[in-house]
């Protein structure tokens, strides 16, 4: 019997917007179905409709059957019963998904205690048992803790344990690892795989990471704009995509598979050993002293060198100090000790005068992670670029406009985009504007801090291409920060690996990926999901 059977599901908002359009898919017991697609394609909506969690006053059509029972239009009582017994959901962001005011124990046991009226002791012992199952050490101690005392990875384990409390035959995972860094993601996937194996649950697994989907799922369903484009066995869909969209998606997905040539690799003038390097960072350290907490050593004795025209990648898990390093280099943060030289000039001194400030700006520019927040929402794209231009050069209004159009053109945007406010631009377009704005200053060094992490894979590919092109055209020196090894591989000649503020390994990117020397680098590499032919579920993702 199929566990879940969705048949021509449609979902409309009260004023007529169709969010889901004829979704049909099914999940059999013990089977894992991956749901992939770009942001906003309707993955979450589909998943939620299984539990009857629909947008306020939305109209639905078609049917959703869970263990043979119709979910749409079910009586409140049946719905509660379904949620308690038949299916459970693991949400994307565990920090947002667990009530910050209540204890972990409360979160885990409340459904059992209040929903099924079981004794507290029983619920507690089950919670402890499940926490053990998701590999939480000292489970009993955690029950009294509040979410803010735990890390994201731990919280996601708790969320999974919570979902398993009712032993549901179907587990829905909505991007359960997106909020986590690579190594933690690997651990969570391992836990899920183990539970899937021991309980024989069916699973609907949502992700936008094709590699992950390929490594974890039996079948894959590809969605776009509220519709299903294609579905089939994981290997088939990803190995031989039919639909053009799927094909594009697959092509854009970076991999760290060895043997493949580096995409936009080192292109500009090769590293010129004789001249002074563009960036020399010498044993930089930075310690934060947050109020009421113990000091955080964000960067410790980190040294870097990037030759003129070179590109250096910085990888490491979340919190390893990558951004702090970048912020020190661009002057947003003062290092506690150590020196920074850009193009032979000392960059450590605080900019006091206006000319200092401008000189600073001309030596380094930066592109930030979040395209939605790094542009002033009120200022149209053209104006933002023009502001930067005119700050550094005396330009007539006409010249400035021409320069803006030229820059826009260079990043692949059109003149009409000059009038657009950031809101009306897509994430990729915004990031192009941000890059154009940085280029307007004509810096010697460009720092990109996770400049593509917030973007969809296909968009990410476009931006990466752009960076490659600019390097080529201008001989720009690039410091590229990412937590994604696959991305770094496409852009950088050399890479350093950071962990807890320290640089643990450095070397040419290709060598680093092929033969990592440090165990942490190896762990990072192992954590990256790789699609491979499935043999048995147990193997998958187990580290």
């Amino acid at each position: 019997m199929t566990l879940l059977d969705i048949d021509r599901l449609t979902l409309d908002l009260p004023h007529g917007t169709r969010l889901l359009d004829g979704i049909s898919l099914s999940v059999a017991a013990g089977e894992t179905v991956g749901l992939v697609g770009e942001s906003g394609s309707g993955k979450s909506l589909t998943a939620r409709s299984v539990l009857g969690l629909l947008p306020d006053r939305a109209a639905t059509g078609g049917s959703v059957r869970l263990q043979g029972l119709e979910v749409l239009g079910a009586a409140q009582r049946d719905l509660l019963e379904l949620r308690r017994r038949s299916a459970a959901m693991v949400f994307q962001d565990p920090r947002a998904g667990i009530n910050p005011s209540r204890t972990i124990g409360d979160h885990l046991t409340e459904a059992m205690r209040l929903g099924e009226r079981r004794p507290t002791a029983e619920a507690r012992s089950r919670a402890v048992e499940l926490l053990g199952a998701v590999r939480m050490p000292r489970a009993a101690e955690h029950l009294g803790q509040h979410p803010h005392e735990l890390s994201g990875g731990m919280l996601q384990r708790i969320m999974i344990a919570g979902a398993l409390m009712g032993s549901p035959p179907l587990l829905i995972c909505d991007e359960p690892t997106t909020a986590l860094d690579v190594t933690t993601q690997a651990e969570i996937i391992a836990v899920l795989a183990e539970q899937r194996a021991t309980r024989g649950m069916g699973m609907l697994f949502i992700t936008h990471d094709l590699n992950l989907a390929a490594s974890f799922c039996d079948r894959i369903v590809v969605m776009q704009g509220g519709r299903i484009l294609e579905q089939g066995a994981a290997n088939a869909v990803l190995g031989d995509p039919r639909h053009p969209y799927t094909r594009r998606l697959v092509a854009a997905t970076p991999t760290i598979e060895l043997g493949e040539p580096a995409g936009a690799g080192p292109a500009g003038p090769g590293p010129a050993a004789e001249s002074e390097p563009m960036l020399v960072a010498d044993s930089l350290s930075k310690t934060y002293h947050p109020k009421g907490r113990s000091p955080v050593r964000a960067v410790a004795e980190a040294s870097l060198t990037i030759p003129r025209g070179g590109s250096l990648g910085v990888v490491g898990e979340s919190g390893s100090g990558k951004s702090t390093l970048a912020r020190m280099i661009v002057g947003l943060e003062q290092p506690d000790s150590g020196g920074i030289r850009v193009d032979g000039r000392d960059r450590r001194a605080l900019a006091r005068s206006r000319s200092d400030r401008l000189a600073h700006a001309r030596s380094v520019q930066m592109v930030f992670q979040d395209p939605y927040l790094s542009l002033d929402p009120r200022i149209p794209a053209g104006r933002a670029i023009e502001d930067a231009l005119r700050l550094h050069r005396r330009l007539s209004a006409r010249d400035a406009r021409d320069a803006v159009v030229d820059l826009l053109d260079r990043v692949g945007l059109e003149e009409r985009h000059a009038q657009a406010r950031p809101r009306t631009l897509s994430g990729g377009q915004r990031q192009r504007v941000a890059i154009a704005r940085a280029l307007a200053v004509e810096p010697d060094l460009l720092v990109l801090d996770e400049a593509t992490s917030a973007l969809d894979v296909s968009v990410q590919a476009q931006v990466l291409d752009l960076v490659g092109r600019v390097r080529q055209e201008r001989g720009l020196t690039v410091l590229f920060i990412s937590h994604d090894l696959a991305v770094v591989r496409r852009v950088c000649d050399e890479t350093v690996v950071m962990r807890q503020g320290e640089i643990v390994e450095r070397g040419p990117t290709a060598r680093l990926l092929r033969s990592p020397a440090h165990e942490y680098t190896r762990l990072l590499l192992a954590s990256v999901p790789r699609p491979r032919p499935r043999t048995s579920p147990e193997q998958i993702g187990a580290v």
């Binding site: 949620r83 910050p100 005011s101 803010h148 969320m159």
Partner: protein, 312 residues
């Protein structure tokens, strides 16, 4: 916590400076009130000035005042020729009763309104509650008092129109109408904060998680939405207290209640500074205390704040 306490004490200290020295800006001579419009002899003026310590330099008066207060001596009222502590002490219970009852009404009606509106967000009930609360909030207490007396005391005769009764239940009975008049304006504040705070929480993912676990709507609202929405509600409540104490002046006047609100207005008018200073400081003190309590409750409402982590 010690830092917070220090901050609150600092607030009190600054307030005491403000309260005390502002009076030296006041034109007019308190002595002329003491001698109540009669032909005073020069000696009488001098004697009375000295009796009330008004001949000392300001800073010395301030020191005497502060030291006196720390010993429980608030000075003497010029208008009542009596210890300020006695004058205020006799009137405080009425105001406290009024504030407590009004507070209870504000809490009940405001919370209920806010919750109903939040749970029916965007629907007719929401609009009705909002419009109702806004309209109530727009009725100044003095208008409310007049209408309440006219309708419920005079026309219908259900409630007495004046006085604070003989204690106990009778006092409660006497304070019903005044409390309503006082509560009217403030209900809207609590109602709106409750609504927006609840709406904010309703959209949180943890609410959805709880729902997906098969908890009933009521349980989810109680344990996850309301409980988490309490923070801003408590904060607003903290800010309300001082406002209630002062707004009571209007209501007390209309209902012939002898409380510290009407005493304040009257004392301002009569330049009875010792009383004005004591009441203002009392209001500030109440504000400080209530906010200290709110601060103490904060970790319970939001455990993250205990750890000093930025609450979100």
């Amino acid at each position: 916590m010690a830092g917070k306490l220090g901050g609150l004490l600092l607030t009190l200290f600054l307030a005491s400076l403000l309260v005390f020295f502002s009076r030296f800006l006041v034109p007019g001579d308190p002595v002329s009130f003491l001698l109540r419009g009669r032909k005073p002899s020069a000696e009488a003026v001098a004697q009375v000035t000295a009796q009330y310590g008004l001949d000392l330099p300001p800073w010395q008066q301030y020191l005497n005042w502060v030291i006196g207060m720390l010993q429980g001596d608030f000075g003497r009222s010029l208008q009542y020729r009596q210890e300020v502590a006695t004058v205020i002490g006799e009137r405080l219970p009425v105001t406290l009763g009024l504030v407590v009852m009004a507070g209870a009404m504000i809490a009940v009606v405001g919370l209920a309104g806010g919750i109903v509106a939040a749970l029916n967000r965007g629907r007719v009930a929401d609009r009705l509650v909002l419009i109702g609360l806004t309209t109530l909030g727009a009725i100044p207490s003095f208008v409310g008092a007049i209408v309440l007396i006219a309708v419920f005391a005079v026309q219908l005769g259900w409630f007495p129109s004046f006085g604070s009764g003989d204690g106990g239940l009778d006092t409660v009975y006497h304070l019903v109408l005044p409390s309503i008049a006082l509560a009217i304006v403030f209900v809207v504040l609590v109602g709106k904060v409750t609504r927006s705070s609840m709406v904010d929480q309703l959209d949180r993912e943890h609410v959805e998680v709880a729902t997906s676990r098969g908890l009933t709507r009521a349980t989810v609202v109680r344990r996850h939405v309301f409980r988490n929405a309490l923070g801003p509600i408590l904060t607003v409540t903290g800010l309300l207290v001082a406002g209630l104490l002062v707004a009571s002046s209007i209501v007390e006047a209309a209902f012939g209640l002898a409380g510290i609100g009407s005493l304040l207005v009257q004392s301002v008018d009569r330049l009875d500074f010792p009383v004005v200073q004591a009441i203002v400081l009392l209001v500030v003190f109440a504000f400080v205390v209530v906010n200290a309590i709110v601060d103490l409750l904060e970790p319970w409402v939001d455990p993250r704040s205990a750890a000093g982590a930025g609450a979100r």
